[in-house]
């Protein structure tokens, strides 16, 4: 279980203090899939980075399974069970997909197990296991590999920052199935997704709305989702004004 207590995050831009996250109180219970939505620039991704330890809050506390992890590093939080899938996955020259999955697992990993993780995200394992995680992979492929690394970790808390960003429609629909399946096997862990895609909101147990850094609504999907339909906090599929990749509309 993750708890945020009065978490704020402030940056200094052009000599002016700007509060990106303001006094957020939030609980992500075990066995739940929680989606944080809200308008662009509302502080969603920053909140995810605060949870992973990539940014440190200006004030407030982050509690993981009863332990205050606010001052812990990225590494320490990862070891205590926080996984984080980047919005824009990182490329590595020379590191192969299998290497990355092995590092994610943090121990021995068989080829068969690696293949299972890749298959789960809709990649033909045989074609990818030896590929380098470099610029030869498309944005969508990288994104799926990124999600596979989180699956391989099997953490207490898996955080996904806009998992749909940069992937094509076909992959997006498969992605929903990946999250559905994760939800089914959630036992004792929790999933936190940053997204404003209606299809993702639709598989949430709980929805949290973040606007201008503040938590403005929170509750069961059935309660919150109807209030968001038609707003930029619940976008249906991929907008047509987004760029395309390989002829497909990119989310």
């Amino acid at each position: 279980m993750l708890e945020l207590k009065n978490v704020s995050f402030q940056v200094n831009a052009d000599g002016q203090d700007k509060e990106i996250v303001r006094d957020v109180n939030l609980t992500v219970p075990d066995d739940k899939l929680v989606v944080i939505t809200g308008p662009n620039g509302g502080g969603k991704s920053t909140l995810a980075r605060l949870i992973a330890g990539i940014e440190k809050p200006t004030s407030g506390q982050i509690i993981l399974n009863g332990e205050d992890v606010t001052s812990l590093s990225i590494t320490e939080r990862a070891r205590k069970g926080v996984s984080f899938a980047f919005q824009q996955p990182v490329r590595f020259k020379g590191i192969q997909v299998f290497d990355l999955l092995r590092l994610a697992r943090g121990g021995k990993l068989t080829i068969a197990e690696a293949c299972e993780y890749l298959s789960a995200v809709g990649l033909c394992a045989r074609d990818y296991i030896d590929r380098e995680v470099n610029a030869s992979l498309s944005g969508g492929e990288l994104k799926r590999i990124e999600i596979a690394t989180v699956l391989a970790r099997g953490s207490a808390l898996s955080v996904f920052d806009e998992p749909e960003a940069g992937i094509d429609l076909w992959s997006f629909r498969n992605l929903i199935e990946v999250f559905r399946s994760m939800r089914q096997h959630i036992h004792g862990s929790s999933i936190l997704i940053i997204s404003h895609q209606e299809r993702i909101l639709n598989i949430a147990d709980e929805i949290v709305v973040l606007k201008e850094g503040r938590l403005t609504a929170r509750g069961a999907k059935e309660e919150i989702l109807p209030t968001l339909i038609g707003t930029e906090s619940a976008v249906l599929d991929c907008r047509r004004d987004r760029p395309t990749e390989g002829g497909n509309v990119v989310c």
Binding site: T75, K93, G94
Partner: protein, 311 residues
């Protein structure tokens, strides 16, 4: 014949590092230890002849020899040795062989140890050679470990050569010069991997002349300069015919390392197509952060990134 059991443990360890040898190799071999031949064997198709002055070898590979290998590693464990050897390889037409060279120096003394090897390859028509050369240094002494390899490659029509040159650890000073002359249809591929530490210096110079129509060359170097080390990569392709060539230097710079990359292209024929790429930069912060989110420390993340880069 070599008596493996008589080699000391340090020499065996160096052989493992530079030639992946855990026992007497199959095929033709010559193992040079502390400036003396510690064992040599020829085969029906590959003849190794020592030079009369004891300073090197002539290796004759018969035309049509297939799937055979030659191992000629050098190990030095005595401080203060300095040697210059000349090894000539004559690879017959249509042969297809693996040649493993490499030098390991362990210097626990205060005097410099130096091995300078001049290798010349005469690659016959249609022949294919895979050449692996690893350099390694170890030892706690103040004496330097110095390696200055010179490689000359002469490639006849439609021959091909793949060269893998690796120097990852422990060599204080290296000045490596590689030249190649390619005939029509010849193909040269070079993959160099280099890492320098401490106050090491590494200079690597390539001059590849594409002299015949259809000749191709691809020279790629990946390197990491750590601590106060210095690297210079100077790769020049010369297109004298309707040919194509590509050279690339990709480096990670760390700490107070310094790197100079000097890719050079010279086209003397209107149908010569030559390309060079060079990039130097530190490890991207986001790469380290990503691996830290997988539970690695910052230092472990750096090591993984470097290991992958140099793999």
């Amino acid at each position: 014949m070599l008596n493996w059991k008589e080699m000391d443990e340090m020499q065996k360890r160096l052989l493992d590092e530079v030639a992946d040898l855990h026992e007497i190799p199959e095929g033709a071999y010559n193992i040079r230890a502390n400036s003396q031949s510690a064992g040599r064997a020829s085969t029906a198709h590959i003849e190794i002849i020592p030079r009369e002055d004891g300073k090197g070898l002539t290796v004759n590979i018969q035309p049509g020899t297939k799937n055979e290998s030659v191992h000629i590693p050098v190990v030095m464990t005595e401080s203060g040795l300095k040697e210059l050897v000349y090894n000539d390889f004559h690879i017959g037409e249509d042969a297809d062989v693996l040649i493993v060279a490499g030098c390991g120096i362990d210097n626990c003394g205060s005097q410099d140890s130096e091995h300078d090897g001049i290798h010349r390859f005469f690659v016959g028509k249609g022949a294919h050679v895979r050449y692996v050369e690893k350099h390694y240094g170890s030892g706690s002494g103040t004496g330097k470990r110095i390696l200055n390899p010179g490689t000359e490659v002469y490639m006849e029509e439609n021959s091909s050569m793949e060269m893998e040159m690796v120097q990852i650890k422990g060599v204080d000073d290296t000045n490596r010069t590689t030249t190649a002359e390619l005939g029509a249809g010849a193909k040269l591929i070079v993959r160099e991997r280099l890492m320098t530490h401490g106050r090491q210096n590494a200079l690597s110079t390539y001059v590849v002349r594409l002299n015949g129509d259809g000749a191709t060359a691809d020279v790629v170097s990946r390197s990491v300069a750590r601590d106060h080390s210095y690297q210079e990569f100077d790769a020049k392709l010369v297109g004298n015919a309707a040919c194509s060539g590509h050279t690339e230097c990709d480096s990670i710079i760390m700490d107070r390392g310094k790197i100079l990359a000097v890719p050079g292209l010279e086209a003397n024929h209107v149908d010569a197509a030559l390309v060079h790429e060079a990039a130097i930069g530190k490890i991207a912060g986001e790469q380290i952060i990503k691996l830290m989110t997988l539970g690695l420390t910052e230092q472990e993340a750096e090591e993984q990134i470097i290991n992958g880069f140099l793999k």
